[in-house]
């Protein structure tokens, strides 16, 4: 089977699963997107070496590695305390109501998008909440696609930071 066909099949079967796993590992909606992307890219590149057995486990293993690297990089960026024994111990959090997780996430996302300064608020809401592409947004707002793409990238960074700062699930 062609690599592209295998990728499409893997996306059909496991995109939601890998994205959800990445979210559970990082608790960050945007980091989960980036890590899901990295996971499938790494999977695509390694297809020639992959024997095709246990695809779910293979993808999850790649995702776990990507998330681990990401979390370790984030830890290194934070300043270490002088007294490690006083470092904050994060206690277990109560689980959310499972059936409303998706809805709560979308609501939070919308709020965060609207909290950005113009023109990022409109672009962020259109792209992240209504799933419009940069081309569609550019056509709607009569602007250059490149400008919209840059604004989406900047909005994503801001939202990523805002998401981390908020106390979330």
């Amino acid at each position: 089977m062609e690599a592209d066909d295998r990728l499409i099949q893997a996306l059909d079967q496991y995109e939601t699963l890998i994205f959800s796993i990445c979210y559970q590992m990082t608790k960050n909606y945007f980091d989960a997107q980036d890590l899901t992307q990295e996971t499938f890219l790494a999977y695509y590149r390694s297809l020639s070496d992959f024997d095709g057995k246990n695809e779910k486990g293979y993808l999850t293993k790649i995702a776990a590695n990507k998330c681990l690297d990401h979390l370790r990089r984030s830890e290194r960026r934070t300043a270490p305390t002088e007294f490690p024994e006083l470092e904050v111990h994060i206690p277990p959090q109560p689980p959310p109501e499972q059936e409303v997780l998706d809805r709560l996430l979308q609501e939070k996302l919308l709020l965060l998008c609207r909290s950005l300064k113009p023109p990022y608020d409109q672009v962020a809401e259109a792209h992240f909440c209504r799933n419009m592409t940069a081309r569609e947004i550019a056509a709607q707002q009569r602007r250059r696609q490149k400008t919209v793409q840059t604004q989406i990238a900047r909005a994503k960074k801001m939202l990523q930071q805002l998401w981390k700062e908020e106390d979330w699930l």
Binding site: L7, L11, T16, S20, I21, F40, G57, P92, L101, F128
Partner: protein, 171 residues
């Protein structure tokens, strides 16, 4: 290797593990395909999140770019030019030419300067035309910067030292 227990996996999804225990689960899943599959199978239905529609498109675009070579693979070797000496000479000539132009532009206006009272160490203005020009010090620092940049670029392009003209080679 101690595998993940069912209880631990359940607690992981119930958010009943502390940060250290969560990292342990992650670290083990990163090494063990069997346990990573069990972790994937155990995710509750209610925790499955719908990814944004643009994510799939982004993934396919990135993979397509990786396939065509637009995105450089992670561990690609940097290539060395076929004729590094010739390339180095060409590059040096370009840098020297650019420096010459910069100095020429600077000194073309320099003669019109009448030691204006607006002198600020970097720029000075001609009282007759009102135009501002960089001072000699500014031009020197620009030239120095361009030289350093040229040196840095030459090193970054992996030119071999033995290909550079030296006194020994000339003899």
């Amino acid at each position: 290797m101690t595998h993940l227990s069912e209880e631990k996996i359940q607690k992981y999804y119930q958010n009943m593990l502390d940060s250290r225990e969560r990292m342990e689960v992650l670290e083990h899943a990163a090494q063990c395909s069997a346990c990573s599959e069990r972790l994937a199978d155990a995710i509750p239905q209610g925790l499955l999140l719908s990814p944004p529609l643009t994510l799939r498109q982004n993934i396919q675009e990135q993979c397509s770019a990786a396939h065509t070579g637009t995105i450089r693979p992670q561990h690609a070797q940097r290539t060395v030019p076929a004729h590094p000496h010739k390339e180095f000479c060409l590059y040096t000539a370009k840098v020297v030419f650019a420096m010459g132009v910069a100095i020429l532009v600077a000194f073309t206006g320099h003669s019109a300067i009448d030691h204006s009272p607006e002198y600020n160490g970097h720029y000075t203005a001609s009282p007759s035309s009102g135009r501002t020009y960089p001072t000699e010090e500014a031009v020197s620092s620009i030239s120095e910067g361009i030289s350093k940049l040229g040196q840095y670029c030459a090193e970054a392009l992996y030119f071999y030292k033995e290909d550079l003209p030296t006194n020994k080679n000339k003899q």
